[in-house]
């Protein structure tokens, strides 16, 4: 094949994937490393890439300490209860204590943040959310990243990390290919900050056919954060903690502003309140510590999102669906009606398109809600990702190995979806994590930790061969058949993705089985996964675009395999409403009040699982919620 090999050498900080996490990293790295070489490798175009490509109508993580609203520990407690206790509180506290400074920078850069004119503070949607006109959120932060970076390589699909050959378990850069030219790109770097994305489209989506791209998380979020790091042997945590979203049916339009700001609420198909009747049995399952509606009502402690999903799922299964969002009251106010529509246009245009297509006017009709297929990610309200070190002033010994947000691979850092145990970071928190990782990476280099890295031509050539293999497979075998996509020697990326999604759905607790699995199903699933893994060696790509899809599929596969192992390891039902282990239908704090940590041996592909202790912040009781909280 005639593709050139293009080597970018002597990089200090390589940012792989420049969504909100990666742009935060590239931006901040310049401050701490004014003479360092900072390079971004991005699969799309950084002006519209990552989960925020479309824009956002709210920033969901802002403390507002400056306005006397919340302290970081309040946010930690909120994320803790929402995730049924399973969070990294050192990392969360650290993110929360810096996130306001990130948001204040954004405002200075021109991001329109709405104000509460009476108080002078930002307009709150809920206790943690502030409202923005964020159509251009991504291009604005990308401008800042571009000014900091020495070079931005758009349209590079990074497939693998490079590893140092002089010291074991140390990163040395990354490789990939340009999805336009097809050229092979080698980035030799002292550190890598992985800002790649979480995983949509690994579980079979509810949408079919042409609509398969209508997923809640962006279809280009291909689990590459996990695929890259797992393949290199980084430890992962909480990969079983997939998330299921209760959203407007089919369009998956957001519900946060509707619930919190517009004061809409849900009812079943017969106009009845349904949630509270499922809570007594659910309380038996998870314990009073996690579900106590009376305490929640009195203290405003939130009811964990998964448990609210549980009520929706059960009500629908009991034959009283669909669940409706009651919008007809709020939408009589023209101002609130406008906000309801702006909210979609700002971040999920497809929902506006759907309502226009189906003549759903929420002023006269209460739209349907549904629970989505599961997603695996680490920046929204769930905490999948790499097992990372915390900062030295906060972290207990088990959570600390020298550099903030460094994975268990030396010199490999994470931000956003890549970092495990830090849910509720959202856009602003992900950017903040990138900043933290960048400062730590500069320090790692200044401490001399990246000296003497060696990458052989053999490693570079081996990866090159692997990357283009799907093109070669197609070239060799496609002419064996007359025409069409059926070939006994290979599968194409779409066929592989369909197989993966069906397997995840049926064996790992997708929507098609009402989010139910058990040890038997998981073990069968793992066996089938290993055969799919063999077949993925034979995935074929007819052109460079399909080669991109082939590598996205491989990253999704590695992510999924990890989800299977983690789900099997945690022998309890920790998050009813996200998934159920039918063989252990109870939350078990005695044995499973721990974080799950895995490692895939890069040489053998074997998984080892371990439990890591959970640490919680204690002290200072939570203050009464501020007035802004509805």
């Amino acid at each position: 094949m005639s593709y050139s090999t293009i080597i970018e050498d002597n990089i200090d900080i390589l940012v792989v994937g420049a969504g909100l996490g990666g742009t935060g990293a590239a931006f901040e790295a310049r401050y701490w490393g004014q003479n360092k070489k900072i390079v971004i490798a991005e699969k799309a175009n950084i002006m519209r890439s990552g989960a925020v490509a479309q824009g956002l109508y709210a920033i969901n993580c802002y403390m507002g300490t400056r306005f006397g609203e919340n302290n970081p520990e309040d946010h930690v407690r909120y994320a803790r209860i929402d995730l049924m206790g399973m969070v990294r509180e050192d990392l969360l506290f650290d993110m929360a204590r810096h996130v306001d400074s990130t948001v204040h920078n954004f405002e200075e850069w021109g991001l329109p943040i709405m104000r509460n004119e009476k108080k002078g503070s930002y307009l709150r949607e809920g206790r943690w959310q502030i409202m923005i006109h964020g159509e251009s959120y991504k291009p604005i932060v990308a401008e800042a990243a571009k000014k900091s970076a020495d070079k931005v390589f758009n349209r590079i699909c990074v497939t693998h990390l490079l590893m140092d050959e002089s010291k074991e378990n140390r990163v040395a850069g990354a490789v990939g290919f340009n999805v336009r030219t097809g050229n092979y790109h080698v980035f030799k770097s002292k550190t890598v900050i992985c800002g790649a994305g979480g995983a949509s489209n690994i579980f079979k989506p509810r949408s079919v056919g042409e609509g398969a791209g209508r997923v809640w998380y962006a279809p280009w979020s291909s689990g590459s954060a996990y695929g890259l790091m797992i393949e290199a042997g980084a430890k992962m945590t909480q990969m079983e903690n997939r998330i299921v979203l209760a959203r407007f049916k089919d369009g998956y339009g957001p519900v946060g502003a509707y619930f919190l700001h517009l004061k809409t609420y849900t009812q079943n198909g017969y106009g009845e309140e349904y949630e509270s009747k499922w809570f007594p049995a659910l309380q038996q399952m998870v314990g009073k510590e996690y579900l106590d509606p009376e305490v929640s009502h009195r203290t405003h402690r939130p009811i964990p999102t998964c448990l609210r999903n549980h009520a929706i799922i059960n009500e629908v299964n009991a034959g009283r669906g669909p669940i409706h969002m009651v919008t007809m009251e709020a939408f009589q106010d023209p101002h609130l009606e406008e906000i309801g529509w702006h909210n979609f246009l700002g971040m999920t245009v497809g929902q506006a398109v759907l309502w226009a297509a189906t003549d759903v006017d929420p002023k006269y009709e209460n739209p349907e809600l549904t629970t989505s297929e599961p997603y695996v990610m680490g920046s929204h309200a769930t905490g999948c990702g790499a097992w990372c070190s915390g900062p030295e002033d906060l972290s207990p010994p088990e959570y600390f190995w020298g550099y903030n947000r460094m994975t268990t691979i030396e010199g490999l850092f994470g931000a956003g979806d890549a970092v495990g145990g830090t849910p509720h970071a959202f856009s602003s928190g992900s950017f903040t994590e990138g900043r933290l990782a960048a400062k730590a990476a500069c320090r790692y280099i200044d401490d001399g930790k990246a000296e003497g890295i060696r990458v052989s031509d053999a490693q570079i050539n081996r990866r090159r061969e692997q990357i283009y293999k799907p093109l070669e497979t197609y070239r060799v075998y496609s002419n064996e058949v007359v025409a069409g996509t059926v070939n006994p020697n290979f599968i194409n990326p779409r066929q592989g993705l369909d197989r993966l999604q069906k397997m995840m759905d049926e064996y790992c607790g997708g929507f098609g089985v009402n989010y139910m699995t058990n040890d038997k199903l998981l073990n069968i699933g793992l066996k089938k996964m290993s055969i799919l893994g063999e077949d993925l060696e034979k995935v074929a790509a007819s052109d460079i675009h399909e080669l991109l899809r082939a590598w996205e599929l491989k990253h999704r596969f590695l992510t999924s395999e990890s989800v299977f192992h983690h789900t099997l390891f945690r022998k309890e039902t920790r998050w009813p409403g996200y998934y159920y282990r039918g063989d252990v239908m109870k939350l078990d704090d005695k044995n499973w009040h721990v974080l799950t940590v895995s490692r895939r041996d890069p040489k053998t592909g074997e998984y080892t699982m371990e439990k890591a202790p959970l640490y919680h912040l204690v002290g200072d009781v939570e203050k009464a919620p501020p007035e802004a909280h509805h």
Binding site: Q34, R48, E143, G213, R214, P219, A356, A357, G619
Partner: protein, 160 residues
Amino acid sequence: MPTFVYMTRCDGCGECVDICPSDIMHIDKKLRRAYNIEPSMCWECYSCVKACPHQAIDVRGYADFAPLGHSVRVIRDEEKGTIAWRIKFRNGKKDMELLAPITTKPWGSATPKLADVPAPSKEMRDSQLLFNEPKYIRMDDGGLHTLQSNGLEIKEGVQY
């Protein structure tokens, strides 16, 4: 709602190809105009619609659940700093125009160039502070929160 491109408006400039986050807007080699090569990987994010200088790209709701006959159009203007939407229902009963700001500053003018700001001191490097901190945390003199400052401990075990 995958995108499609009107034959008579597209001039093949490639702005949509350049911006599409999903790599699905490509130029048809024979017609020398753009089209959506993989509708099932379209997120209806409108990045291409907004980027098209000729309003040649539109969206038709996903065939598996969206009936025909609706329209959601947009014009994004960096110079004016606004985005203008028009939503038309299938039954013609609703026709809305919505306008929102996209920035408060002249486009691209307000992001800092960190290579030009004074380098951080050693004290700053040894601290937990980031760029513009501690000032930007509270926009006043308050410092960075620590376990000690907030009266906290981090403790192993089952806590709620």
